[in-house]
């Protein structure tokens, strides 16, 4: 009986850790040279979309300290000012917590539209924060490209994440 209990708790830990660990692993994989065009934009878009998805459907999977850690990792891997993405991701999570109840029952298209709104706000905030922190006007094209990538990535990601959400990341199935 002892053994079964151990495996079950290991399973549960694995399921709880899956969202955060998968985000971190994909972030690191996207640093390998020559995989995709605009890899830095894809990385940021992926993280934005993942945090959005998990905070909407399974908020317990990504507690705030983990989100902050992922944000710092994103800042260190890319070359954004330290802590910037930690703040932005936490704001994304806080906003999601406020509208979660209303949004969770809606269809995919509505969820995607709201995500596009989130991306627009986060992108504008990132641009403003970077301009203030670096005291310089930065070209707008790369950050717009990043926003578009993030919006386009979401449907692709949602297919994979919904499967994970119902299967490998569900603690109640442990």
């Amino acid at each position: 009986m002892e053994g079964v209990e151990f495996w079950r708790s290991l399973d549960r830990v694995g399921r709880h850790a899956l969202p955060a660990v998968s985000i971190a692993v994909v972030m690191i994989v996207l640093a390998i040279p020559g995989l995709l065009p605009l890899q830095a934009g894809v990385r940021v878009g992926f993280v934005m979309a993942s945090v959005y998805f998990w905070s909407l459907y399974r908020p317990a999977a990504l507690p705030a300290p983990l989100v902050a850690l992922l944000g710092v990792l994103l800042d260190l891997l890319g070359a954004s000012p330290l802590g910037l993405w930690a703040v932005l991701l936490l704001l994304e999570q806080a906003a999601m917590a406020a509208i979660r109840r209303a949004l969770v029952r809606r269809g995919f298209l509505m969820v995607w539209l709201v995500f596009a709104g989130f991306v627009a706000v986060l992108t504008a905030a990132e641009y403003a924060a970077r301009a203030v922190l670096d005291l310089a006007m930065l070209p707008a094209a790369p950050i717009l490209a990043q926003g578009v990538i993030a919006v386009l990535i979401y449907p692709l990601l949602a297919v994979a994440l919904i499967r994970a959400h119902r299967g490998a990341a569900a603690p109640e199935q442990a």
């Binding site: 640093a31 040279p33 890899q39 710092v72 890319g78 000012p81 802590g83």
Partner: protein, 280 residues
């Protein structure tokens, strides 16, 4: 595990988000106040992840180069023909090079020329592309005994790629010449007109501060200049190209989008480097 009553737990869980938000804002301020904090953390993370990157990048490069027995067999014949042709061409150039070397020696002996020291260099593999939105940099592996390689100059087979800005114990970050923060003093054309090459986050860095009376001309060669003391004189960078009127850019010789192996040259560790740096 600590048992807490449900209201306390709820209150705590409601508090974590604001607390983490405040901590993160503090981190932004700390990073802004002390630039070294971010650099130190970044170097530590790069070093820690370097073996992972190296392991993960290996299969990708293999696929890219079509390595492995099957890819080699398919290309054997074509490669062979190409190499034979190239060898012929190189033999001809060797003769030219030998003649020029002899002539060069003769001229040097007439001028009492003091030779510039050859810099020490080593090859380094690119293991990660760590560019962000507004940053172009790559992570390279370095040998364990390489110390103080900050400011070493990175080149690929054809031209200058950038220079080392951060170095840990087994990895180093190379800031590419296309980065927004990159400024390289350059000499343009045969007469070495001075200018600054400024990265603009695109494939082609821009030329600024050239003498108004002597604008860079399309197709002129761009070399590094020793002004400022970081770069030595005369490393090939690229050619001048006009994107628009009055907006000369440099088309780098180096293949900036497919960097795999770089050579890192350490010029400033040479005892005679100062003499070399002042040579026009």
């Amino acid at each position: 595990m600590l048992r807490l009553s449900i209201p306390v737990r709820q209150a705590l869980s409601r508090l974590t988000l604001p607390v983490m938000l405040i901590v993160s804002l503090g981190l932004v301020l700390a990073g802004r106040a002390d630039r070294h904090l971010g650099d130190t953390l970044r170097t530590g993370l790069d070093d820690a992840l370097a073996p992972v990157y190296r392991a993960a990048a290996a299969p990708v490069t293999d696929i890219e180069q079509g390595r492995g027995a099957i890819g080699d067999w398919f290309r054997l014949h074509a490669d062979n023909a190409r190499l034979v042709a190239e060898n012929d061409r190189l033999k001809r150039w060797r003769a030219v090079a030998l003649a020029l070397a002899a002539q060069n020696d003769a001229l040097k002996s007439q001028l009492h020329f003091v030779p510039t020291p050859t810099p020490s260099f080593f090859a380094a593999r690119v293991i990660a592309d760590l560019g962000g939105l507004y940053a172009r940099s790559v992570l390279v592996t370095i040998p364990r005994d390489a110390h103080g390689i900050v400011n070493a100059i990175a080149m690929d087979g054809s031209g200058v790629v950038g220079r080392v800005v951060q170095a840990g114990s087994r990895s180093a970050r190379v800031l590419l010449i296309t980065d927004l923060n990159s400024r390289v003093p350059v000499a343009i054309g045969r007469h070495g007109g001075r200018a600054i090459m400024e990265g603009q986050n695109s494939a082609t860095p821009r030329l600024i501060y050239w003498a108004p009376g002597n604008p860079p001309r399309e197709g002129q060669i761009v070399l590094t200049s020793a002004v400022g003391g970081v770069f030595p004189y005369g490393l090939p960078v690229g050619t001048v190209h006009y994107d628009g009127k009055n907006d000369p850019v440099v088309r780098p010789f180096a293949g900036m989008t497919r960097l795999r192996v770089l050579r890192l040259f350490e010029y400033d560790r040479q005892p005679g480097a100062d003499g070399a740096a002042t040579t026009p």
